[in-house]
């Protein structure tokens, strides 16, 4: 064997080893190999089951909120500075109109806006002698939008992370339509996922006025003489959450409208097994230092009085304060573990800056995923066998060449998926199968050319050489045309998960094929020719 050929063989062996390492690592046992394989070849949602959501953040709400707040600030600043005007109100989501400003104070007004509200442009109001319109600058609107999106992604990520799924995905999606993609492998209940994403847990600890519940709203109003005392509200209660205890509304509490502590004051919240109700879970929380300075004195003054735990405007617990409480507490609600986990999570992660709208959702059940894997594997194995058997039957020893090339192609393909941490989807498996079919194309092209050359009475060595040379250009052609399609497909629909997987496997498969069918197959031929007696015939 020439040394040149030897080096080529070595390079192929190295590629094979790197590929095998990429697929199964350095396993010490069969199970370890399988584990490594499962870890490296990541399956798409359509194969492992899960939930896929595309949601749109209603960014306009955040902009409106900014306008609301600006209006409030503007009014109070103008009051402080003694700037006189008739009325100020919102014109629309991004504009504020100030009517009839005192003419001698225009300068002060302009100064105020430019110093305190730099995000706003001033223009004279149409059809009004001394009216002004403040408009939120486009750059500011864009900044609010960006901030809202970032915050939404962050909040959703935090909530999703706590679901304990392997490799969930939360990311902005599409081009500037304020969309977010959420992929949750293993989550087979889309409603639960949506609840977790969207739920806002508004927690309030507040004083129960009168220290007793009422059996119904009417009776409460009757005993209060038809008027609520100032700064109080009547809230429905239940001995647990709506689906896990008495139905909401079977008792009513009169509570103080201004809570002592709200969800914003929490430093942490965690689910823990209940000590009072075995088998159920509580949510234990810690307060921030600031809130603790309010909570301590309050509980001390109200020992013996009732305090209500209000969640989303429903009293889930009302209990007598036994002693001063410093900075921690427990929400008892006879929760299941999952409910308690979800609640703790909602309390921890805070509210979404704006509401969301679901544009698309799909859920693949675990049994369908298992089915798809089975179908995909079966189809791959059968097509591989058919192709391999045919190649060996038709081309004899040269066919074995093709078999080696094809198998190596698949090994490289799998390894590349692992190295690029690409995701294998069902269309991706179809891409693998198509690669099997198209992979032999190059071999057939070359072998047919070699046969032609042999027919025109060329010696095996030169027939092989010419066969490879002449088929090469055509092989490049056939690969480029399909690669162009695959590349455009990938760029065009890159975000549509499963389909992109098809483009990925097809592209990798074709590239690997260039290496295996042209380079590897040639080396095997050369090695064979070198060993072969000079006058022998080539088995092709």
């Amino acid at each position: 064997m020439s040394s040149n050929l030897k080096w080529k063989a070595v390079s192929i062996v190295i590629v094979v080893l790197i590929s095998i390492y990429g697929i199964i690592g350095l396993p010490t046992s069969w199970t370890a190999a399988k584990q490594n394989f499962a870890q490296r070849i990541k399956l798409g949602l359509d194969l492992q089951g899960g939930t896929h959501l595309i949601l749109q953040v209603q960014v306009q709400e955040a902009v409106n909120l900014e306008t609301d707040q600006t209006l409030d600030h503007l009014k109070s600043d103008m009051r402080d500075k003694g700037i006189r005007y008739d009325d100020a109100s919102e014109l629309n989501g991004t504009q504020i109109v100030v009517h009839n400003l005192a003419t001698n104070q225009t300068g002060a007004f302009r100064d105020l806006v430019s110093s305190s509200f730099p995000d706003w442009d001033i223009s004279p109001a149409p059809n009004e002698a001394s009216g002004y319109v403040l408009s939120l600058k486009p750059a500011a609107i864009a900044a609010i939008g960006q901030q809202t999106m970032d915050q939404s992604v962050e909040t959703i990520t935090r909530r999703i992370d706590n679901l304990g799924l392997t490799q969930p995905l939360v990311a902005t999606y599409g081009q500037g339509n304020n969309e977010i993609i959420v992929e949750l492998p293993g989550e087979s209940d889309p409603n639960h996922a949506k609840e977790v994403i969207q739920a806002t847990a508004r927690l309030e600890l507040t004083k129960v006025v009168g220290n007793q519940p009422y059996p119904s709203e009417q009776e409460a109003m009757a005993s209060l003489g038809g008027v609520l005392p100032p700064d109080t509200e009547l809230l429905p209660g239940g001995s647990g959450t709506a689906d896990n205890g008495q139905p909401a509304g079977s008792v009513w509490y009169l509570v103080q409208r201004t809570p002592i502590v709200t969800g914003r004051d929490l430093k942490s919240a965690d689910a823990e097994p209940s000590t009072e109700n075995p088998g159920y879970y509580d949510v234990a929380f810690h307060l921030s230092t600031d809130a603790a300075t309010r909570f301590g004195p309050f509980t001390e003054q109200n020992v013996g009085n009732q305090m209500a735990t209000v969640l989303n405007n429903q009293v889930i617990l009302s209990a007598v304060i036994k002693s001063r409480i410093e900075d921690s507490g427990v929400i008892e609600g006879q929760f299941g573990q999952q409910q308690a986990d979800d609640l703790a999570l909602e309390l921890r992660s805070g509210a979404l800056p704006a509401s969301v709208k679901y544009l698309e959702e799909s859920t693949i059940g675990p049994s369908l995923g298992a089915d798809s894997i089975r179908h995909g594997v079966q189809a791959s194995v059968v097509s591989l066998l058919v192709v391999l058997i045919f190649m060996v039957a038709y081309y004899r020893q040269a066919g074995v060449n093709a078999v080696v090339a094809l198998l190596l192609n698949l090994v490289i393909l799998l390894a590349a998926l692992g190295y690029f941490s690409a995701v294998l989807t069902l269309p991706g498996i179809a891409g693998v199968i198509l690669t099997i079919g198209m992979g032999v194309d190059s071999n057939v092209l070359i072998f047919e050319r070699i046969r032609e050359e042999l027919r025109s009475a060329k010696a095996p060595v030169s027939a092989v050489d010419l066969g490879f040379k002449r088929a090469f250009l055509t092989i490049i052609d056939t690969h480029v045309t399909t690669l162009v399609s695959a590349a455009i497909l990938f760029v065009g629909v890159a975000e549509k998960g499963a389909v992109a997987g098809f483009a990925v496997t097809l592209t990798i498969g074709l590239l690997a094929n260039l290496f295996t069918s042209v380079y590897v197959s040639r080396v095997i031929f050369d090695w064979h020719l070198a060993k072969m007696p000079r006058q022998a015939e080539l088995s092709i």
């Binding site: 097509s383 179809a430 194309d441 045309t481 162009v484 065009g492």
Partner: protein, 422 residues
């Protein structure tokens, strides 16, 4: 082994049959397309789809009645049969709600599920469907009930048990537990089963996947798909133009004073013929999609793009040979050069197309419902794509050269006729 030895077929002499075949396919597909239109998947139209798997033959009539009673009389029910698993017992219930809001779509899903429970009488008040319980929720429930009396030593035993039971349900029972006793197969003891019975009911169907696509997303995707397809064709044109920039048939008609447009077509005729042939393939495939009521989804667009590339392959191989032979056999009439080129590459064409065809056929038969339309596009596309390279692309080039280079073309046809007679 060798299937094709010294083939000598006069392909160009059979052009009229090819034209007739292509026209027939195009017309049939065209009529169907015009009358029935194309059947777009939910990802393009928007709507709600719920896939339900049954334990036994799905009671279609009952489902229909149940849906009607929920005011969903216009929903579609499609039964899925699969060649590799003929007893798939699956139905797809679809709610096509073009132009409606996302909330309506989500409500549609809930309504479909309610209709199923109501009409199939599976639900039990206060209990949950075992087929839809997640491992985590099941673990919760088991921990609370503690049927194995583990007390404080519970550890993650129930988490493991829950995983074991749901895995058994999803893999061995294919998602449908029609009787909780069947869970014994997963190692559930009678105590566990009776604890499960307190909280869950078995049912003879399970929702195996759900899809809701809002109208906004569908419209966006339609636009995206068209753009992608056009780009692919454009990319192909650029490559072909680059690849066959060697002058086309200029040598045939190099006479001065020719109308410049004709000269330009001489120059690009190979590329133009190849792209026309691919266009023909896509049209025929789409026609068959309409005729046989296969769904056009995003994956089908992927298949069509692949087909564009694949169909180009065969054509390029033949055209390459034609150009090679044009250099070798300058004296021969053009049509017989084309014939010879097709014959020389015939073995390769049939073999590779045949093998690729077999693989996609396997995919079509065994790949499962999800890939059905996708693999159908490839099965049809590979057949048509192979045929069009010698049946459409090559004859187009010959026809053009006949029209342009009168003298030589005449001898070409004559030679073709002669060889066929001989």
């Amino acid at each position: 082994m060798e299937f094709f030895k010294q083939v000598n077929i006069n392909w160009m002499g059979k052009t009229k049959y090819f034209v007739a075949l292509s026209l027939a396919l195009l017309i049939i597909g065209g009529i169907s397309w015009a009358r029935k239109g194309l059947y777009y998947g939910i990802d393009f139209t928007g709507g709600t789809l719920v896939y339900v798997r049954f334990d036994t033959t799905p009671p279609i009539d009952k489902i229909r009645q149940g849906l009607a009673s929920q005011g969903l009389g216009d929903s579609t029910i499609q039964q899925i049969s699969d060649i590799s698993s003929p007893n798939a017992n699956e139905v797809v219930i679809g709610l096509d709600e073009r132009g409606q809001g996302e909330e309506a779509l989500a409500a549609g899903r809930t309504a479909i599920l309610n209709a199923l429970y109501a009409s199939l009488g599976a639900g039990e008040p206060g209990k949950q469907d075992f087929n839809s319980v997640t491992p985590q929720a099941l673990a919760d429930q088991l921990t609370r009930k503690d049927p194995l009396n583990l007390g404080v030593n519970v550890g993650d035993k129930y988490t493991q048990l829950a995983k074991q039971l749901t895995d058994y349900r999803d893999h061995d029972l294919r998602g449908v537990v029609s009787d909780l006793r069947r869970l014994q197969g997963a190692g559930a003891t009678p105590a566990v089963i009776s604890a499960l019975r307190d909280s869950y009911f078995p049912s003879n169907f399970a929702v195996i996947s759900e899809e809701i696509v809002g109208p906004q997303v569908g419209a966006q995707l339609r636009k995206q798909a068209v753009i992608v397809t056009l780009y692919a064709l454009g990319g192909m044109l650029i490559y072909i133009a680059f690849r066959f920039s060697g002058g086309g048939l200029l040598h045939l008609t190099a006479s001065a004073g020719t109308f410049f447009l004709w000269k330009w077509i001489d120059f690009v005729i190979f590329g133009a013929a190849a792209v026309l042939a691919v266009f023909h393939d896509v049209l025929i495939t789409l026609g068959l999609f309409s005729l046989l009521h296969f769904e056009i989804s995003l994956t089908v667009i992927a298949a069509l793009l692949t087909l564009v590339g694949y169909s180009m392959n065969d054509t390029i191989v033949i055209f390459d040979r034609i150009r090679e032979n044009l250099r070798l056999m300058r004296r021969e009439p053009f049509a017989s050069i084309v014939n010879r080129s097709i014959n020389q590459t015939l073995s390769r064409t049939i073999l590779t197309s045949g093998l690729t065809f077999v693989t996609v056929l396997v995919l079509f038969l065994m790949g499962g419902q999800v890939l059905r339309s996708f693999s159908f596009a490839l099965v049809v596309g590979i057949m048509v794509g192979t045929y069009s390279s010698f049946g459409i692309a090559a004859p187009l080039v010959v026809a053009w050269s006949n029209w342009r280079g009168q003298g030589e073309a005449a001898t070409g046809t004559a030679a073709g006729n002669k060889s066929r007679k001989g």
